[in-house]
Each structure stands twice: as structure tokens, then as C-alpha cells.
Symmetry: C3
Subunit: 354 residues, 3 copies
């Protein structure tokens, strides 16, 4: 079950040109394309004539042309041309989705397109701030329910076990378990921060910056349900006392955007971007950080896919919560409330229209 | 659900020698082989002893010998030898199918073999007419219900979209939608013809014949349910006025036999042969036409497999019929009538024997 | 349905070191490992925290550490450490299995570990008798229910059909069907022997020993339910009259241990070892026999996997028993009795504790 009345990332803006792109979001097959004027469209990826994917067709002046018998649909899914006949049957429509491009991201609204609320799109201005936060984008397909991957990020105590070779290494594991944590419920989700004080710089950080000694590290994460996590992590020399002074200048810093989007009940699209906050004028620094983060996400993929496989086999086995689950638990409370609320509203609407 | 009381193509005659061939027809696993005298046999591909496939065995003098413990069955599925014992239990039989070879095709009757009616086999004498219609044979496995592939052929308006590079190209698409069509219910199925007058020769035709100008093209198709389509297409110089005069000599002509046979509910065997009616003394001409048709069928496969995948996921979604569906609709009426009739007769037989 | 109150082979002892080994036995996912002191442990392969496989973790001093968030479990599945917290919840346990190493084999008891009865482990002292019975070990994954593979071995009349190129060849098939057979119910299973008198040495034997003429061959098999078969086969010069005199010296002899262990309902682990009883001082002789047996088992795999696929598709089709099924039938009687008995005891225990 997925939240419908919200925006999900459907693609990187750069992925969608005039060639149709097939993508499944919240278990709904979708075709994304841009018309001649560059406007985005998102339709159900199924022609209403004989049911083939519209993504097998091509974009022409009037809209998207089915590749099988040539029926054409406009950006709202309305049939506008049927070869060999003038009359267009009233039923000749396919479902369309509200779609919006912002911050290099294609967002789709999974609920009623008439109710799509642009104010709910998560802003991520760093993508446009090339001077201070140059970035690289990626997409990893992961065979697990999207909640498992969000759980993964909401509990960073996995770092010293899963990511020893990159961001989790360098520190004795008790540094992680002694981290100063703060977890807060927010209007749109959960905020979560950890300070790892007096730490040996982990391999990723040490590759970027030549730290003279130990560092104080911050890990800040904000989850905005259903599927966005905005992460800011970094570290500066311990002597700078960043936690007390707020001074985070001059060390290592990176921002990671995670958009973890349901594909099916047991698979998701892991969109991510990595922005570096040091040596911004040299693209090699962006590459350096990306090349550290990417394999780290592949390590997460291994654990989450394993977790999904076992959960599929043993749906009723119990779980035991531990202290580090705090943020994860708040996340699920939040999501469950939103889902329950959406259900209640749907019921009320049904009653009103009855 | 498949029609049982009729013949389906099971193999090209050349495929079946003394080595057993495993093939699934109408979701029934079958082993086909030829005995020492060259006679064909078709049995259920499951030994009644421990249930392994007889196609893992070998053909010996007395019949087919199971490869596991050596039990031998004759061409009617009767057990004729059990190693180490003389008594043959009455239950030691496997189901057999009536099988018949004609026109280079192995036909099987899927109903009661005692009721197999040879007069119902579709004749295709062109296979034997090597002088006028030299041919090449093929088989493509397609992962869709066989009806979808027949639908494909019953609506040739897909040509200018799916087959632009071969038989569908050359003409503006409105030539296709303005084609003069005639569709008729026949005792055994549906006949369907189109004339594309005053057309630019499509790439396939132009490769075969050096036409001086525009041509009149005919496309004739006869569907004989459940699974045979006999196609005759070609084109001659427009000045010859073939539609009025009946004179089709001297241009491009080819005959294609399509036997589209259910393998399972969601897969089929696409047997086809291509015969050329020009330059018959040079095998290169047969190759030329085959090499144009084969990739065309692979293009159809892409669309039909996509259609099946979507139909499997959305079994209840609606379809919208258009004008070009006329022949397709007649085909389904015809098939549904035959299926209903078969069901009624089966019920009556059950009542009589009760 | 599998017998629970007995030992199954889970691994070759040499397979299990300090790196965790994932293996599914009787459809239960298990992790096997050895602690620093070399003691074996077998736990359910699912961390009780978030459900990932413990086999993704590593063995540390205190036990096995989950690779995701670092929880540690001891050899009895008791949680002994949770990073970042002192309190260990009572529910933080995973199921453990009684495990025992003997004769180079890791055995697990699938029932209640408190009731594990070491006296029920099948002894196989030949593995330790390097002087007389040097051996090599193997493991073949087979996609069939384990009973089908045991059936395979309990009916050796398949030799001349399936294994023509190795142990089944050389003799006319009627030598096999005329074999002198003896089949006995034993307390733990079924014993089964065949004498093939006056036989041409089959290819495997002839490669090992330079026989001057015909031989008398014995094939002895003892099945100990649920999953062990101890095989002794060989042949000596017919003039030695081994059947009457008991003198089996000087010819070809080999012992094969078959441990055929359920993985799932439709797959099994085929553990086997091959020991040669001739030319024991030259390892090339062990290799020679292993290299004959291994492809033979792969031939069995083909038939058993085919049998499983067909049984899955046609679960209700009938089978016809023949004379050579005698041992197989006794095996199933024996297994069914044990299963029924286990069910009865479980019911009684449930009643007592109610
Ligand atoms: S399936 Fe799209 S036009 Fe026919
Ligand atoms: S399975 Fe065919 S003879 Fe045994
Ligand atoms: S899943 Fe094992 S410690 Fe979290």
C-alpha cells in the first residue's frame, strides 16, 4: 500500500527526452516523455486499443503515437487520432498523471491529477547551486520494498558493519554506538542527527581532505515522507568544536539526496545525487565523493534485498526492536498516520459522492 | 481454453526423425518420433511408470523406450515391454494422439484420436509445388497467447507502424488507412483482403523487383480456425490494373503460411513458411523474401509479447475497438462459436454415456 | 513433509570454517559456522532484529555477529550483545539446532535440540579408514524432492538405460533384469542386494582392473531413513564364485556414501563420497573412481529433475508399479510409518502439555 496523494520522483530530468521512457511507480506502469515544446507528460503505459505499452511508440507533433496501430494520445491521455476513422470513441482515453519538473527532478503525483498540489514538492535547491554544491546523479534498482531502504538510512548504526571500507570505517564501532543522537518528529517526517565526536576520519573523508588529526563528524538526515531523505554529513577538525560553535567550514562536507521510490511492493528505484562541499571548482572532487557513495549504496542494496527475500518467506516472524530503531519507528508512525488519514478522506469522499 | 477437435501443426516434417522431439501443444506435453519404417507417432510425454519424459528415451524396433528403466510403448501408447517381467499391467498405457503428415507438416488431432477426421486438415499444396512456389520454413517461439498473434495478422493496419523497415515502409501511412478492405465470414474462418492502389513499392518489394513506378498491392488472408492463416500478397505495375483484370503476373508475389499454435495459455509456436512467386529458379530469391519476412515476424513478436505481459497484469482493463478491428472481431466470433459448440457436444456425449 | 526427529547431513566438515555457511535443510534456512575453538554451531539464518541472514555477518569471539547492525548471538542462538545498549530483550533469540561432527560429516538434528539423540547418527567409519578406503567428497544440487533421488538409487534397473557410458554399460540389458535380487526391511530402513553373475566388466570396472574374463558383480545398498544410503559394489573374477564363497578379494570394489538431504520440497543436496577398495596407495585410483561416479550422478540428476518438473505439473496423474519397484515401495512404507509415528507422538505431547 502506497501513499497516493503526494509527489514521487519518477526520473532524473535528463533521462526524459522525446524518446518515451517506461517506468513503474507505486506499481503503476507509466510512460514519460517530452513533447516538441519540451513539456513533460506522464501517461499510463497501456494503449486502450489492444493494450500494448505506449512506451513502444514514439512522440509526434500531436502527442504520443502507439507503436502498434498508430493511435495518438495527448498529454492528458485523450485520444486525438485514430488511423482510418474520424470518430473518436469517448472511452478512448488513458490515465494521465500530473507531472512537474523542479531541481533536475521529474516529479509525479500519484493521486487524482486535479488535486496535485505543487506546494508539496520537496525543494532541493542544491542541484541548482553548481558553485557551492556541484553534484552527480545516479539510479540503482533495488529488489526490496522501499520502506526497507528508508529504514536502512534511518538507522545509521549499520555504518561500521556494512560500510567498513568507505564511510563506516576508521572508527572503533563503539564510537558509533556512543554517538550523540537526536531524533525529532517533523510536520513532514522525521529529523535525525548524530554527532561522532573525536573520531578518526573514515576512509572516504581522508581521501578528500588531509586532516591533521581527529575530527568531529555530523550526520543529519531529514526524511520527508513518503520517499525523500535529505542528508548532510561531514567533519571538521575537533579543535573547531563544530557542535557548539556551528562552524562547519573548511573540512569535509557532502550532501546526498535519496529519493527511494516504490516500483512494486518488493522493489524500488533508488535515485540519489551526491554534492560535494569542498574543492568545488575541481570536478574530480565530485567524482571522488560519488565514487565513494555509489559502492556504499550497493552494499546497502545487498542487505536490503536479503531482508526482503527473508521477509517474503517468513511474513509472520517477529522482529525485536532495539534502541537504534528510534528514528525508524518514528518514520513508520508518521507514514502509518498519513496512510490512515488518506484512507479516511477517501472514505469520506466516497460517502459524499454517494 | 483451446479447441480440441481439430488439427494443429505440431512440427515441420523435417524436424521429426528417429530422435524423439518434445513439444507442448495446447498445454499438453507431447513426444513426436518416427519409427524404423518412417511412420509418425505422438504420445503424451510422460512415462506411466515414474513419470519422466519419454522424450529422454530412444526409439527402438518395438516403439519408444523410456530412458529411465526401459519400459517400451508402441505408437498407440500401449506398453509392450517391461524389463524383468512378463506381465504387462492393464494400466500401463500413455495417451496417444492421432498424427498425420501432409504438405511437409506434422499435424496432430488434440481430441479423441478415434474421431480424428483427416478431411479437416488444411491443405497447403504450395509446399509441394517447388517449381512455382519454392519455400523456406521457420519456427519462432512467442510468449503470448496464440490468439494475440492471430489478431496481429488479422489487422494489417499495424504494418506502417511496426514494420517500417520492411513490408510496411515506403507508403505514407494514409495509404494503409485508405486501403480498400473486404472482410468475409467463411465456413472455416474469416477471409480478409486489402488493395493498396497506386502505392510506392515497399522496401521488401523493391529489393525483389525493379519496378518502374507505382504499384497496386494486394494482401489476402484466409484464417482457418483454430490456427492457420494462408496469406498471399504482392504487387504489380499500376498500369496492369490487377484488381479489375485479375492479372497479377510479372510483379512481386509471395505466399506465407502462418501456423500459430498454442503452446501454453501464454505462449505459442509460430510456424511459418515463405514461398516466392518470382525468379523461382534462383534460390537466392527465396532467401531474399525469407530474410525480409523473418525479421518482420520478430517485430510482431515484440508487440505481442508486450501485449501478453500487460494483459496478464491487467486482466480486467477495458479495450476500445476501432474500425480496423473488423476482421479480428469476426475471428473471435467464429472461434467462440466453435468453442461453444464443442462444449455443447461434450455435454451431450456425457449425458448419453451416463 | 519431512521427518524432524533425526539427523540430516548439513555439510562436509571441511566446508565449515570460521566463515559462516548458509544452507537450507528441510526448508529451514540455517547458518553453520565454527567458533574460535573449532566448535560447530547451527542457527536459524535470520537475525531477530530486522530479519537479515546471519550468514552475511561474521564470527567473532562471542559468537556470530549480524552484518547489518552488529547484534551478536551465541551458539545457542541467545543474543549476547546489542551495540549501544546494555539491556538484552528476552525475545532476542534465534532458533538453534543440535549439531555434531562425525566421520568428516556435519550432522544436524531438525527436531527439538534438547531431544537430539547422538546414538541415531549413522556411522560411516570408512571415511576415517584412509588406508583401506581412501575417499573423495562431493556435493551436487538437484532440483527434485529428495525422495525421488532415493527412489533412483533404490531401483538399480535404471543402470543400463541411464548410465550406459559408465557403470551401466558392457552388459546386455537382460543381465540386469535377470539379476538375483534380495530386498529386506531393516529396523532403520531397507537393505537391497543384487548379484549380476557372469557379466562383462562395465567400462568403469575395466578402467580400474585388467580383468581376464567375465566377473560376478555385487551391488549392495542399505538405506537408513530419512536420507542415508550406504553402497558397496564391486566385482571379481567369476571363477572366484564370490556369492557362494564370500571371497571378494582382488577385484574391483568401491563404497559410495549417498546423503540425500531435503533442501526444499522440490530440491535437495546430494552429498556423496567415493572410496576405492583397490590400489589404495595411489590417489590416482581414488580419482579414477570418483571421475566415473560423478558424471553418473549428473545423469541421475537429469532424470530426477525431469521427473520433478512433470510431477509438479501433473500432481494427480497415476503411476504404474513394476517388479523392480520392490525396494522403493518398502522404502516408502518405512518412511510413511516413521512420519505417521512422529505425528502421533507430537499429538500426544501436545495433549500432555495441554
Ligand atoms: S494497441 Fe495501440 S493502436 Fe492498437
Ligand atoms: S519411468 Fe519410464 S520406465 Fe521407469
Ligand atoms: S538485522 Fe541483525 S543487527 Fe539489525
Amino acid at each position: 500500500m502506497f501513499l497516493k496523494n503526494d509527489w514521487y520522483m519518477a526520473a532524473w530530468a535528463a533521462e526524459v527526452g522525446s524518446a518515451p521512457v517506461a517506468r513503474r511507480i507505486c506499481n503503476e506502469p507509466m510512460v514519460l516523455y517530452r513533447d516538441a515544446a519540451g513539456s513533460l507528460a506522464a501517461l499510463q503505459d497501456r494503449c486502450c486499443h489492444r493494450g500494448v505499452a505506449l512506451s513502444l511508440g514514439k512522440v509526434i507533433e500531436e502527442g504520443i503515437q502507439c507503436g502498434y496501430h498508430g493511435i495518438v494520445f495527448d498529454a492528458k491521455g485523450q485520444c486525438v487520432h485514430i488511423p482510418g476513422q474520424d470518430r473518436i470513441p469517448a472511452k478512448a482515453v488513458v490515465h494521465y498523471y500530473a507531472v512537474h519538473e523542479r531541481d533536475s527532478i521529474v516529479w509525479v503525483w500519484m493521486g487524482n491529477p486535479d488535486e496535485a498540489d505543487l506546494s508539496l514538492i520537496v525543494d532541493y535547491p542544491y542541484h541548482g547551486d553548481v558553485k557551492n554544491w556541484p553534484h552527480r546523479e545516479g539510479l540503482i534498482p533495488v529488489k526490496c520494498n522501499y520502506e526497507m531502504l528508508i529504514d536502512n538510512i534511518m538507522d545509521l548504526t549499520h555504518l561500521p558493519y556494512v560500510h567498513t571500507k568507505t564511510i563506516g570505517g576508521g572508527t572503533p564501532t563503539n564510537v558509533h554506538s556512543k554517538a550523540v543522537m537526536k531524533t525529532e518528529r517533523m510536520p513532514r517526517g522525521v529529523k535525525y542527527s548524530r554527532w561522532l565526536l573525536d573520531s578518526v576520519p573514515p576512509p572516504t573523508y581522508a581521501k578528500a581532505i588531509d586532516f591533521p588529526g581527529k575530527i568531529d563528524r555530523w550526520q543529519e538526515e531529514e526524511l520527508l515522507t513518503p520517499s525523500v531523505i535529505i542528508q548532510f554529513t561531514g567533519g571538521v577538525d575537533t579543535s573547531q568544536r563544530p557542535r557548539e560553535t556551528g562552524n562547519r567550514e573548511g573540512g569535509f562536507g557532502m550532501r546526498v539526496l535519496h529519493c527511494i521510490v516504490p516500483e512494486t511492493e518488493t522493489s524500488c528505484h533508488y535515485f540519489f545525487s551526491v554534492s560535494n562541499g569542498f574543492g568545488q571548482d575541481d570536478p574530480a572532487n565530485t567524482d571522488l565523493v560519488y565514487d565513494q557513495v555509489y559502492p556504499t549504496l550497493l552494499e546497502d542494496k545487498v542487505f536490503c534485498e536479503n531482508q526482503q527475500a527473508i521477509a517474503t518467506e517468513f511474513p509472520d516472524e517477529n522482529f525485536v526492536d532495539i534502541r537504534s530503531d528510534e528514528a525508524r519507528i518514528l518514520y513508520h508512525q508518521h507514514l502509518d498516520e498519513r496512510l490512515a488519514n488518506e484512507k479516511k478522506l477517501a472514505k469520506r469522499d466516497a460517502a459524499v459522492s454517494a
